[in-house]
Subunit: 322 residues, 2 copies
């Protein structure tokens, strides 16, 4: 409410300013805006978080910007998402579409068709096969998830020790996380004893960690690459009663793991975010494009700052399923 100007500053005259008040945004604010949001259904933890945060953002954005109507649609398969796009765009004029595509291949054509009608397209997480379709792209930084975890771990281990790593599903996302982690570890004396796939699955991670524990009598730390897998890893370690493992780390910022961080857990004192709430980022940015003509065409790469006991509250959503 207060506006400060240094004496040395040249502010536009108050008269000009008053005349100009919110005139520029008036064009957008005078008419009703429909923002469709198309996301996968809550078929597993992370997408459950996406649904939760999209619903929250719908309420918050409609309260903040009364002329914006958010229409949220979930789908449990790529085919269902294609149908839902047809339903959404056949019955009304969409000013904007925020979409987290089930798959790149199947959704690219249908999203291009929506775009052709003049709809602003915001794509989240998984890109389309043709990036020229999107006006805005919001994605997490998987390289940073791996690199920031590795940097922290290397500091804590004094740059040496023996660790094991779990991989997810063979995808670009997994490749990037592993590359970010391995590049940092490669510059230290830390040895990766073993690295195998457990498909981002808690049960498979439990079994793989049991194998690692049987095979290696001394392990300084384990990086599970993902918080879902981390829960399986921790269960295996606890069942085996192994006390040699100083650190067990994941990544993603899952609620249960952030609670461990908040509580100062010694074995899992940090996580890194790859937050399902990134759907909110895209929805708020799209709202700003229409509510204030704020330029929102471009590419937003989320950072992956370490989640620590000091900042964990900022990443914690007590009511979210993830």
């Amino acid at each position: 409410m207060k506006s400060m100007t240094l004496k040395t500053g040249l502010l536009l005259s108050t008269v000009t300013t008053a005349l100009a008040l919110s005139f520029g945004a008036a064009q957008a604010q005078d008419r009703n805006i429909t923002m469709a949001v198309s996301i996968p259904a809550a078929t597993h933890g992370w997408t459950g978080g996406v649904v939760y945060h999209a619903e929250q953002a719908e309420k918050e954005i409609e309260a903040a910007f009364p002329n914006i109507d958010v229409v949220l649609s979930t789908a449990s398969s790529a085919t269902a998402q294609v149908s839902s796009l047809e339903d959404l765009s056949s019955t009304r004029k969409l000013d904007a579409l925020v979409i987290l595509p089930f798959t790149s291949e199947e959704l690219t054509g249908p999203v291009a068709q929506v775009k052709e009608k003049g709809t602003f397209i915001a794509v989240v997480d998984r890109g389309l096969a043709d990036p020229s379709i999107q006006d805005l792209y919001v994605a997490g930084d998987n390289i940073a998830v791996g690199a920031n975890t590795a940097t922290w771990l290397s500091d804590k281990l004094g740059g040496e020790g023996e660790i094991v790593v779990l991989r997810g599903i063979p995808t670009v996302i997994d490749d990037e996380r592993i590359k970010g982690f391995s590049d940092v570890i490669g510059k230290t004396k830390i040895k990766i004893l073993d690295i195998q796939y457990a498909n981002w699955n808690q049960d498979e991670a439990f079994k793989l960690m049991q194998d690692y524990l049987a095979k290696y009598p001394k392990i300084d730390a384990v990086w599970a690459n993902d918080d879902d897998m981390l829960l399986g890893v921790i269960e295996a370690v606890d069942q085996a009663g192994r006390k040699d493992i100083k650190y067990a780390l994941g990544g993603n910022g899952m609620k249960q793991v952030i609670e461990m961080v908040k509580e100062g857990d010694e074995r899992t004192p940090v996580s890194t975010p790859y937050p399902p709430s990134m759907i909110k980022s895209a929805m708020y940015m799209t709202a700003a494009q229409f509510a204030g003509q704020a330029p929102m065409r471009g590419s937003f790469l989320l950072g992956a700052p370490l989640i620590t006991p000091e900042n964990a509250d900022q990443f914690y959503f007590p009511e979210s399923p993830f």
Copy 2:
């Protein structure tokens, strides 16, 4: 207001959803948030636009999010901006600082001091010397400004012809624009007859274009690299009565040039945005971080889509000075 679910979708139960309503954001929304905004004063066209859009965003954000107080400060020099930061942060707890630094070198230390108090730091346009200080970075894409203009021009000229180019002030920004442009032109048969500096100054551009006109009897197109310089170029061309110049293009999305685009000017039918309204993008994104805990740490690179008669309204602020 409406929420659609495909029959195939698995939506969280309505009861859970209702219980969870905006709980996650409640922490942030319950308390008052102070967002300081520190920008250069309106010393020339582009910064005049920055001041205008920051003032607009202040009104809009305070109306949309009643618990957010925006405190706007302008400064006409790097030294004044350092003092203003001290004033802003000594008298109150800043939750967030959105800053367009006058210079990288002089502002890096003072912004780092604000950061140490736990303030969320959003940096716009000119980076700090230490990027680790910023939580959010918002910048335009100067490579794309040059490349998109060159691609359009090459199409229109059929990939051949003779052109002249004006450079700005020797800076990274100018280097990037020229590189984006030259890389595309280098793949065509278009010849750049001449390329010299005119320091993003309208008068200097006028004089340089007069030189070009005297030197080259036939010029197919001129790229002024910037809309301020473009106005000088056009004046020189019109005074000389030269009809050979098919296209005179700039870049930045200045109001007068967007008006030419809207009116279907044959010589200047397009521009590319490097919009002073990017301050709004940063302010809205910071607001979303606090209003909705939407993750906004990261790097947002604005695209530079061609501004054409069809979409010019989206880039047009009739009351803005720029």
